[in-house]
């Protein structure tokens, strides 16, 4: 369902056109079914009906009322019935912008393992291309680590409703074998995540697929606790009471640090391109890695403890002779 967080005038206009076309196509339908179909509150649909019935204009000296949706049937039986429709025969075609948003979404899906050969997806892509849509074209290279090897196994487990086991390496480099109840797969720009219920900690956790190996589908079905979970926080990083607030300044090349974090307040502009924000960091020692990746485009301002962590991490990385380390390995 689309989440219609903010419906503006354009959205309302768009919805009224769509509702008329839907009733034209569908015939009489209960207001609850229409609400379910569009993912909207029934009250919202009733208000749209009022506006649609109000639509009129004086054309060639005659006042024309363009539509009539039966008000009595709606009030008495909760049924939407389009009695009169003078103008709209069909669904308005997608605007260039709308089509290009959908086309880009489809192109993106087509790059995901499991979708690339989907005949329906290909047909939809052709349909939109024929409509002249263009502009946004994912061209995702499959580099090791980006096309996630484990995704297929996890999807199998999700479809059959089973738990999985895997070997997991955490941010500190510690390895463990664990069970996870898989709930949702989230392919993101920086890799795939599994939203899973952790039977050990009894809560939903995010697992990065590139930290897993030897994934196996278990015979054990999902627990009742896991099945109850329906909604997820969109953000992958959820702040908790033990988090530390850290002030950072980022250049455009380091914006990602802010957008991937839980920010305390709206970022403020420092100069033409530098932005300052306060982010929440769960495990302060991780900050060294988080900040270092941007090679100077992200900078910690405060607290001093956090600055020291970043400095020491960078110095340690410089001091380490990685070649020796590998040769000393077994």
């Amino acid at each position: 369902m689309p989440k219609l967080n903010s419906f503006n005038g354009e959205d309302r206009y768009n919805f009224m056109l769509a509702l008329v076309a839907y009733l034209q196509n569908r015939g009489s339908v209960s207001v609850d079914e229409a609400a379910e179909h569009f993912g909207l509150d029934a009250k919202y649909i009733r208000k749209a009906v009022t506006s649609i019935n109000e639509a009129r204009a004086t054309v060639n000296e005659f006042e024309e009322w363009f539509f009539f949706i039966d008000i009595e049937a709606l009030e008495d039986e909760g049924v939407l019935s389009l009695i009169s429709n003078q103008v709209i025969d069909d669904v308005p075609r997608l605007s260039t912008r709308q089509a290009s948003a959908i086309a880009a979404g489809l192109n993106y899906l087509a790059t995901i393992p499991g979708f690339s050969d989907d005949a329906d997806l290909q047909k939809l892509q052709e349909l939109l291309a024929a409509g002249g849509s263009r502009g946004i074209n994912p061209l995702i290279e499959s580099r090791p680590g980006s096309a996630e090897a484990g995704a297929e196994v996890i999807r199998r487990a999700m479809i059959s409703g089973n738990q999985i086991s895997c070997e997991y390496i955490n941010q500190k480099g510690e390895r463990s074998v664990r069970s996870i109840e898989p709930l949702r797969l989230d392919p993101r720009a920086d890799g795939w995540y599994l939203r899973g219920y952790c039977p050990l900690h009894k809560e939903v956790r995010n697992f990065k697929l590139d930290r897993m190996r030897a994934i196996q589908v278990l015979d054990e079905p999902l627990s009742a606790e896991a099945k109850k979970i329906e909604d997820f926080e969109e953000a992958l990083y959820v702040a908790s009471a033990t988090d530390t607030a850290v002030t950072v300044e980022v250049q455009p090349e380091g914006y990602r640090l802010i957008s991937e974090s839980k920010t305390v307040s709206e970022p403020v502009t420092v100069d033409s391109s530098t932005v300052r924000a306060e982010i929440m960091v769960g495990h302060l020692p991780n900050l060294g890695k988080l900040v270092s990746r941007y090679g100077g485009a992200a900078k910690v301002i405060a607290p001093a403890e956090a600055r020291a962590i970043v400095k020491n991490y960078a110095l340690a990385a410089l001091g380490e002779d990685t070649a020796d380390q590998i040769e000393n390995e077994d």
Partner: protein
Amino acid sequence: MSAKSAEAWQPSKSDKSERLLQLTCALLFSERGLSKAELFKSIPAYIEAIRGGTSEESLNRMFERDKVDLKNTGIQVFTPNANADSDDIVYVIAEDTFVWPQHTELTAKQLQLLELAAQVWSQASLEADANQALVRLKALGVEPAASDLIGFAPRIETREPAFIPLNEAIQDCVEVTFNYRKPNGEVSKRHVQPWSLHNVDGQWLLQSFDLEQGEVRNFLLRRIVSKVQTVKVNEVESRFTKPSDEKLGQAVTQLQEHIANQVCELKVKQDSQAWFHFHLDDGAGTKSDTVTFNYMDLVLLAEELRDFALDIKVVRPRELNDLIRSGFEKVASAHA
């Protein structure tokens, strides 16, 4: 499912959505089209505005804005006699406005794929357009099928402020300028015809024709360090002819060839995070501690690999190791 609260809908006589609906219907109803003067006399919202003392100038502005709104939502208003005296110009809605998808019936599974494609934009810059499209597609009356697509939530991320203005300029074929910072820190102003946006390994890339260089150039959105501005000459936006599919295709091929020529080779410490990341256990029993792959941009690659700095040794290219190290040096001095 998130249900919309009814309070958010506040229909009033001045509601833009009702005015746009009246305008659309009046134009559709009058097949020969209506002149501006006729529209001002026939649309209740305009009549009311005139009665309320709105000046002719602001009424004209309201009408111009309404036309833009209709165009943005895909309703094509055109003037068949555009050269006539301005009082006689009539406005008509193009016949093919109401024909998508072209006489095609969508199946339940196809609708579900379209829904997933729209959701890809959740909380990203094209969310509103994608949702409006989905509302229209749902007007076809097909119910999405329940299937194995559930439990799967891919998301496109567009954190660069340049994304929206560039996308609009691409759709409208308008030239733009922006300041671009190369990895060596050099900033220069660019003047381009924007062609298309691509997502390469999670990074947004603009393909464009650079008017100063006289050739196709690619720009990473994250290195654009100013606002993207449309180019205007005497207050009129500088438009360009939409590039042919052949030219667009050539630009993509060139980029792919560039990527194919850039090879990186790493030695990876066994059972480290990097070892997991590069899936070095995937081969059937044949374990190797070396991984080889292609990349687009060495500086971006250095950034990614800095995460694994302690677990890898760069075999090639030589500069990659220097870039990884110089990044750490900059971080250390910025936090000294």
